[in-house]
Symmetry: none
Subunit: 138 residues, 4 copies
Amino acid sequence: MEEYLKKSIRLADAEHMARAAMAKATELGLSIAITIVDESGITKLFTRMDDAPLMASDASRKKAITAVGLGLSTGEPWFNFIREDPILREGVHGFNDFMLLGGGLPIVAGNQMIGAIGISGGHYLQDQECGNAALNSL
Amino acid sequence: MEEYLKKSIRLADAEHMARAAMAKATELGLSIAITIVDESGITKLFTRMDDAPLMASDASRKKAITAVGLGLSTGEPWFNFIREDPILREGVHGFNDFMLLGGGLPIVAGNQMIGAIGISGGHYLQDQECGNAALNSL
Amino acid sequence: MEEYLKKSIRLADAEHMARAAMAKATELGLSIAITIVDESGITKLFTRMDDAPLMASDASRKKAITAVGLGLSTGEPWFNFIREDPILREGVHGFNDFMLLGGGLPIVAGNQMIGAIGISGGHYLQDQECGNAALNSL
Amino acid sequence: MEEYLKKSIRLADAEHMARAAMAKATELGLSIAITIVDESGITKLFTRMDDAPLMASDASRKKAITAVGLGLSTGEPWFNFIREDPILREGVHGFNDFMLLGGGLPIVAGNQMIGAIGISGGHYLQDQECGNAALNSL
């Protein structure tokens, strides 16, 4: 039997990314929640800053799940994919835990997706900025 | 260890607010359901008037959850926040228990949100009116 | 960034195992449902034979989830682990989708668990027999 | 209006506890998942070590929820409370997210519960040991 190999994010890297996202949030004057999932969508790390809005917790998870679900970032990339077709545009909301708002980004190593990060706490453009800071920290 | 302090609504005040909301509802000829949640979104008080529509029970809860989730009232305040940006406008429905209809209001003491009230039973403008009566009774 | 490598079952092998389990079921005069999950507990293959009892579908899934959850087969192995300690014996039922009945078996390649198979449709001893036939077919 | 004050765990302390729990796990040769919830049962931090069993993720959450739900540690303390009364003993499993297995401990500051920690990954006695290491690290 031959196996199928999956690359998965390590906890050490997830922790590193979470710290970078929180540093960016602090710089922006935000308190965020962060969910990092592995390549199978299973939560690896979750952190909620002390003043993060209640809504941010679950939203961060959904953004991560949506990003890892198709390898596509939430926000503009997902919106561009669905905007012209009404069936896609309305239909995607039927996916479990789908979240259109920006702040969910796939984590890629080489040419393989090894997980995703979801950020919530500010405007989705700010959440995206924190997510990008996390990706760039690797 | 230093703790993080949260101010939370007391039951006595929640009861006082519920009575004020029901008095306003009676004045408007409505039967409403009321959910009051604490600062963490946990239900503190729920009341359903004898003739309240079935739909009202859960809607009152969702309105309270939405209001406390970001500290923003449902109805116009939320709609104004999302109306111009299609990603926000469609995306917010991905938040757990999100309810756009008016009648969910944060309860603030000093500069801190200590809970939220959600009202349902009439047109959302009437629900808002009952919610405002509740807030003003404090 | 260094990645964490996971070995995962391939669909071709899952199909091979399912055929072997169904052949054994037919030999025993049973109609079974089969769930094969990958190393992360995500369903890779599900098959329900034409006359499989309704109860079998979900039970096959729970057995696979339980087997992959700790790398321990359902039935005797799990029971031997919990039988003497009342806290373990009662407590394990708190695990999500826990199923004590035999018929859930980890799929191991080398020294790594690459998935699990769950069988339901007959007495749990028969389900186990079908599961073993599947494992032995590799 | 007078408010009700709640003490809540800060993220910095939750992170400190998680590190202490992981250090103990490593010492015991275990890979664990850790959930730390605040005084309202809302997740503050979740961490899953690279080789933690799949079953550990949700179990750590349930242990934390059970511990914070009544201010009683899972494992022996909960079991001693229910063991002599069959209605209690069987009935507690009806609580949402109830988990009897040890490894869930309230986090107390002064005379107030400010959160709870839940650990899963080894035998529940080992999970408890990791939880105690976390509490003692404060």
